[in-house]
Assembly symmetry: C2
Homo-oligomer: 335 residues x 2
């Protein structure tokens, strides 16, 4: 790495992720049971399964989503400079995704594909306990390949943020490793989110190998990190991860989060919330706060605090995109 | 009319209206000024204008809408039996509209069109004062014609509810008059909503003629009814309307509503709301409460109270479809 010699970045964070529109509906346990869904999980499904579930779902609302996309929208809301790479079709949901991410202030340049599967969607069932159970039809999002990595954009971003959810197709794996290589070549950092404990289950060895070889900053929650190292003990998992990376930020739900860098460890409280309405996007927005905090030079504790703030905003309403300016929120709370 | 001889209805209310998906975003006065929009109004626009406004709008959420469609969804939420006729394309927004209205318990049978303009959408700009300013691209909704009137369905509904917004194309006017004729032939009632004061402005003489010849129950707000009779005085307007119809229900915003039938007049208060978030759909849901109340045999005052209740629920959140069961709400408040 040649971090010291890189020119000033144009973007604080460039994210690669699945471009997804969320379809959110209130739900009860019965519909989870009918479709064999485990509460709180994310599963991938094909078009047929998605259609069957959609037909059985209640009235819904559509809000742009996608894990890494939510994160860069959060960074833009804090006032950071962010960009996104992900694939949409030239259909109505693709138009919705592109409009919303650009309107949020995120650079999103690639034109929509003229053929292939439709734009991806995530059917989100929100139960009364505010948990979300997600069934994702990836559609064309799944077809991200190494040819979609814009070298100049990667080189111009201080951090390239990669989503574990992408790690499904050989082509997407090539895209991820290529983006990481280009970023490091340009003297930039690579961040990676484990995304989901089931995603970790499917890709454990490859994730460990990717982290050891190509990742500087890891984002995870407790279930993901303990799954990654196949231990029930959080401290054991964190101790195993620490020597592999420059930094890690691990969320523990209502118990807050833990951030580590070198010898430093910071335990950060969760921000109190009047009512938890929908936990969709909590981890995505936590990452946004931390990455924005790092971009403006905050220490670990304050970066973690911004993460908690953004997560609290997102779980207090339906949908995984902020409804208020996170910059205003941060100014009001932190000053 | 042969009301006494009609068989028991299968549906309480069948509505004809524009099938529309709402695209809702927070907005400031500046964007209204840039696009020459008058706050609180509804204007029709073409695809080009809609695209230009959409590009300038902030991140949005998509929630099924359409004025009369919102009304029949509200009736279903109260526990009433309702159906809808309106046109969608076989595109993603058409799928969203059809899914949401069916999932809400409304019968919606007509298959989507395989060609023609795309499914209609309404760009809703919500300002900080909770007002909504609407720009509607009707798309294929605009192509409703007399051939789309399902005679059997109309004959089987106690009330056929017609939306003034439909009164734009000669074909749609034919559809409305045909539906009214079929309903009366079957001994059923015809209800009509004036929809919007600009809509009344464009069609004043035809609306008066339609009401006199074919309408039993009129829904309106204060601006619409005073526009209809070109008077500044509410009481004058109401007195002019009364002899033309069997019944009328007229809303006055925070001042509540007035319902008249024959010699009876009932003044109903608005239901208090903690915070008015978005007034989209207030009139639509008021009509739902009144029509449901009439269907179950409530008197004017109690029917109006249900209208106030439903309107209060809808203005306390974003979107014009109820987020809770109106039947539960009615049971809790009225018993």
């Amino acid at each position: 790495m040649t971090a010291g010699q890189a020119p000033d970045p144009t973007f604080d964070v460039l994210a690669f992720g699945n471009a997804i529109v969320d379809v959110l509906a209130q739900a009860d346990q019965a519909i989870l049971d009918r479709h064999g869904l485990e509460k709180g999980s994310m599963r991938l499904c094909d078009d047929t399964e998605a259609s069957a579930l959609y037909e059985d779902m209640g009235p819904a609302q559509e809000i742009s989503g996608g894990s890494a996309a939510n994160t860069v929208v959060g960074i833009a809301s804090f006032g950071g400079r962010s960009a996104f790479v992900g694939k949409v079709r030239d259909d109505q949901l693709g138009e919705v995704f592109a409009h919303d991410i650009r309107a949020a202030g995120v650079a999103f340049e690639a034109p929509p594909a003229a053929d292939g599967p439709s734009t991806g969607r995530c059917l989100v069932l929100i139960t009364d306990d505010a948990q979300r159970t997600m069934s994702t039809y990836l559609g064309i999002a799944n077809q991200l390949g190494p040819g979609d990595v814009p070298d100049d954009l990667v080189s111009s971003a201080a951090v390239t943020y990669l989503e574990g959810y992408l790690w499904e197709q050989p082509e997407a794996k090539e895209a991820i490793t290529r983006a990481a290589a280009v970023a490091h070549e340009a003297g930039r950092k690579v961040a990676f989110t484990l995304s989901d404990s089931f995603c970790v289950d499917r890709n454990r060895a490859e994730f460990v190998s990717l982290i050891e070889s190509s990742v500087d900053i890891v984002f995870a929650n407790e279930a993901e990190i303990t799954s990654l190292f196949e231990t029930a003990d959080f401290d054991t998992a964190l101790a195993t991860l620490r020597p592999m990376v420059e930094m890690a930020a691990v969320t523990r739900g209502a118990a807050g989060s833990v951030l580590v860098r070198g010898d430093r460890i910071e335990v950060v409280s969760a921000e109190p919330v009047d009512e938890v309405v929908d936990t969709t996007g909590a981890g995505d927005l936590y990452a946004a706060g931390v990455l924005y905090g790092l971009a403006v030079g905050y220490d670990l504790a304050l970066a973690g605090r911004l993460g908690s703030l953004a997560a609290a905003e997102i779980i207090s309403h339906v949908g995984a995109r902020p409804e208020v300016s996170l910059a205003d929120l941060a100014a009001a709370v932190i000053g």
